[in-house]
């Protein structure tokens, strides 16, 4: 058959999406030949959960799909939206299982179809590929793994950076192997598991303690014993899984995770020289993934002197680069930056308190603006304040004033040394106006809400995104409650916020003539923060305040608003995509600047963008118009 090569549009599309960007030209061309183009009208069911055998990996060229689950009662739970440049079906292909979710187009959708065999071949031959797809599957684990690490303050030997792709499973498997005889009763086995706090137990032949013939897990106890009401005195061999799935001790953690995913077995026995040496679980492995950021986290906690913290925040960019490479979403990245910044702050203030002695009254260190919303990137001006409990008498009031003024001055200095620049607007705890007792803070908000002056409210917006950074968070909660009550009675200030938001127009003509700055240093550049991202932040803030949503993070606010049916589901999905896409562009832009030794900024040159980026950015800007439409309906101008 005559073949004059795949169309440019297909090659270009793949050349611009991860992880295909890594392929060399010849491989990309060879792969693109196998691609088919298909069109699915809006409302086409692409996958039926548990039924559809996935023959192709689908890439959305234009349009969008939603994935959802329908339970036995017909209840529909929405899981995710995917848009242009996203893929569908990778997990099913890698695992060789049927579709795990229902997928339906929500718009007229054009897809590029990559046959299963071609995709699997790439997974097997291109090292970057398996990492990329594995990473995106385990992403949701990663997010929670960090939170857990933080809560439990787990300790781990050695400070070295361990990586999922180089560590052998034999090195991390728990040293003591827990096992019991096949003739033990179920109850004995359960007691053993409880006593040693393990989630699984290996089963050996009654006569040969070294011959492992099966395994039981927590799950077996609930599904095979509790649920059917099995007698606890039955021998454990009746409920064990046999034979045991094993991996070799020299396998890398990556291979093991892949095996777990493909087999849906989360407890694997580890074998060394023909002998079972222990059990590895998916949880053990997700902990490994967190090691690199975790080691930084631990290093922060280890410092005995405040000056020891100074160099540590500089290490964040390198760590973030790894996360980006591995395909982490911008939402996760800025959350990670926030966790680390919070940890530095927490540790710094703890040490400072030790130096200065305890405060006269309880206080809470407030974070505002992007810090308050947990949306920091690399360039994080300080936006902070001190909120302290109302003093009981005049003397205590004077003491508090003195103590916190001194405390704030030192804290701000240390933070500058750590690499967090001063706030140009002087919204910092060192400013006496923003270092006040609760009653004064309540008064501030009462004035902003009750008798709003448009100019003043404009400057006050970042205060509405406050959250507790350190200290007694109950004080911040009280202030938040106060604000909710004020808003219930008086919504006028929201109208001012809405008008302010509507005054900025979406930079839609960016792509025709580019709305870019005409003069000055940033000539011909797009300010992606103010023109692109801020409209989403403002929109989410207004709706959150109006509907008493207490979250401060933009994505979290939007999520709650959609769950409560205040925001249309489709629009929510579009907004999330648009917002994340821009955050991603911004983070990558700033990372490049940092690595080039420049100060990170928000000014993107259109020439830096690929065609795909431009198209996605254009779509993102279109969403701003739709959000403005929602605001206009909600706050009609008389």
């Amino acid at each position: 058959m005559t073949a004059d090569g795949p169309p440019d549009v297909v090659v270009d599309f793949f050349a611009n999406i991860m992880p295909f960007t890594e392929l060399d030209h010849a491989t990309l061309h060879r792969m693109a030949r196998h691609v088919k183009v298909d069109f699915f009208p809006k409302g086409t069911r692409l996958f039926h959960a548990g039924k559809t055998k996935i023959s192709h990996l689908l890439f959305i060229q234009q349009g969008g799909v939603k994935s959802f689950i329908v339970d036995d009662e017909g209840e529909v739970t929405l899981k995710d939206y995917r848009g242009e440049g996203d893929y569908i079906g990778a997990l099913g292909i890698i695992r060789g299982t049927k579709a795990s979710l229902d997928v339906e187009t929500v718009e007229d959708t054009f897809c590029f179809l990559l046959p299963q065999a071609v995709f699997l071949d790439l997974i097997n031959t291109q090292p970057g590929f398996s990492q990329y797809y594995l990473k995106s599957f385990s992403e949701k684990f990663v997010g929670t793994a960090y939170a857990e690490l933080r809560r439990h303050k787990m300790t781990r030997r050695g400070d070295e950076n361990l990586y999922l792709f180089s560590i052998q499973v034999g090195d991390i498997v728990k040293k003591t192997l827990r096992k019991t005889s096949a003739e033990s009763t179920i109850q004995q086995a359960a007691q053993e598991m409880a006593q040693h706090r393990v989630g699984s137990l290996l089963i050996h032949r009654p006569d040969l303690p070294d011959e492992i013939i099966g395994i039981i897990t927590d799950r077996d106890l609930s599904t095979k014993v509790l649920a059917p009401g099995l007698d606890y005195n039955e021998p454990v061999r009746h409920i064990m899984s046999s034979p045991v799935a094993t991996v070799l001790s020299q396998s890398t953690c990556f291979d093991v995770l892949l095996k777990m995913m493909s087999s849906s077995i989360h407890h694997l026995a580890v074998e060394r020289r023909g002998k079972i040496i222990g059990v590895i679980t998916s949880h053990d492995i997700t902990l490994i993934q967190g090691i690199s950021p975790y080691s930084l986290f631990k290093e922060i906690g280890k410092q005995q002197k405040i000056s020891g913290l100074y160099p540590l925040s500089q290490k964040i960019p390198a760590m973030i680069r790894n996360l980006i490479k591995e395909g982490a979403k911008p939402g996760n990245i800025s959350r990670m930056i926030s966790i680390l910044n919070d940890h530095i702050l927490e540790h710094l203030l703890t040490l400072l308190e030790e130096e200065m002695g305890p405060p006269p009254v309880p206080y809470c260190w407030l974070l505002m603006g992007s810090e308050g919303r947990r949306e920091q990137t690399f360039k994080t001006d300080q936006d902070n304040a001190i909120l302290y409990a109302d003093p009981k008498n005049e003397q205590q009031g004077k003491d508090a004033q003195e103590y916190f003024a001194c405390f704030a001055r030192q804290a701000i200095d240390h933070l500058v040394q750590c690499g967090y620049p001063l706030c140009p607007g002087e919204i910092m705890a060192v400013n006496p106006k923003w270092c006040q007792p609760l009653s004064v803070w309540k008064g501030y908000f009462a004035r902003w809400v009750g008798t709003p002056d448009p100019q003043e409210i404009l400057h006050a917006t970042i205060f509405f995104d406050f959250r507790a950074g350190f200290g007694k968070s109950v004080l911040a909660d009280q202030l938040r409650q106060h604000l909710s009550k004020l808003t219930e009675r008086q919504e006028l200030y929201l109208l001012h916020l809405a008008n302010q938001c509507l005054a900025g127009r979406a930079p839609l003509s960016f792509f025709k003539n580019f709305i870019v700055e005409k003069n000055g240093e940033h000539k011909n550049k797009l300010d992606i923060k103010h023109q692109g991202i801020t409209p989403f932040v403002n929109f989410a803030r207004i709706l959150a305040l109006k509907n008493n949503v207490r979250e401060t993070n933009t994505l979290a606010r939007l999520h709650v608003l959609s769950r409560e049916n205040i925001l249309d589901e489709t629009l929510w999905a579009k907004a999330v995509n648009a917002y994340e896409m821009q955050m991603q562009l911004r983070i990558i832009h700033q990372l490049h600047q940092i690595e080039a030794g420049q100060q990170p900024d928000n000014h993107i040159t259109p020439d830096e963008l690929s065609e795909l980026d431009k198209r996605m950015l254009r779509n993102a800007f279109e969403v701003i118009d739709r959000l403005h439409g929602v605001l206009k309906t909600m706050f009609p101008t008389p």
Binding site: A3, D4, P7, F39, P41, F110, L113
Partner: protein, 237 residues
């Protein structure tokens, strides 16, 4: 001049048609229209011309993609320039961004057309205002190969008219406005991905997207077999 004599003989049907045409004809001897659409393959094509004068002008490039199982197959594309008998830097070549130099290096129609006919195989020919493409293809075929193509044609412009008339759309447009049936306008109106215009392969791809869009939209409207489709968009081959 022997080649001139050959052409003359062919025009007067003194020599039998080129073998590739005979095979082409054979493939459609017992052509059935009743099968479901998935069973057919389609070649969506676009030709670029030196101009629109039916007597004087010539084809200078052909682009085509095949649709199998109602999906565009990226491994089955066709893109060739053709050296016209008269090369002069005229308007059309400028529009198509093909330079006279490129045309001088290109193969002649005698070489390219049989390849294209082989590529077409037993597929149906699809084009936007396909009558024009087929007029010039058949004119050239008759001159140099002694016969014309047997592949039935489907016109996406007619399909689009039919689609809009049948009220599939949920908004009111200017249905009868002639300009709104150009490939560019339909692409915009239906919100399809946009390709580089005036490149035969990209235009063929653009048309293929329109064709897929219409086919699948029609399917929900009860068009399942080729016969159904013919009522909507057939042209005389």
């Amino acid at each position: 001049m022997p080649s001139f004599l050959n052409s003359l003989r062919r025009i007067l049907s003194l020599t039998p048609p080129h073998p590739v045409l005979l095979k082409n004809k054979e493939q459609f001897l017992d052509f059935q229209q009743g099968a479901p659409l998935n069973d057919y393959t389609f070649v969506v094509c676009d030709t670029e011309l030196t101009g629109l004068n039916k007597r004087k002008d010539e084809i200078i490039s052909i682009g085509a993609v095949r649709i199998v199982n109602l999906q565009i197959d990226c491994n089955q594309t066709f893109h060739r320039y053709i050296r016209p008998t008269n090369i002069h830097p005229n308007q059309a070549t400028l529009i198509h961004r093909i330079t006279p130099e490129e045309l001088k290096k290109a193969d002649r129609a005698e070489q390219v057309l049989p390849e294209f006919i082989t590529f077409c195989d037993n597929s149906l020919l699809v084009g936007h205002f396909v009558g024009l493409d087929m007029y010039f293809l058949n004119k050239t075929c008759r001159q140099i190969l002694g016969g014309s193509l047997s592949n039935p044609g489907i016109d996406t412009m007619r399909l689009a008219q039919r689609y809009k008339d049948s009220g599939h759309q949920d908004h009111y447009g200017h249905h009868d406005h002639a300009a709104s049936y150009t490939l560019d306008n339909l692409t915009k109106e239906f919100g399809l991905p946009v390709f580089k215009p005036h490149d035969a392969l990209e235009d063929a791809l653009q048309t293929a997207y329109l064709f897929l869009y219409l086919l699948k939209k029609f399917k929900t409207g009860g068009i399942h077999s080729l016969k159904d489709l013919y009522r909507a968009g057939r042209i005389r081959g």
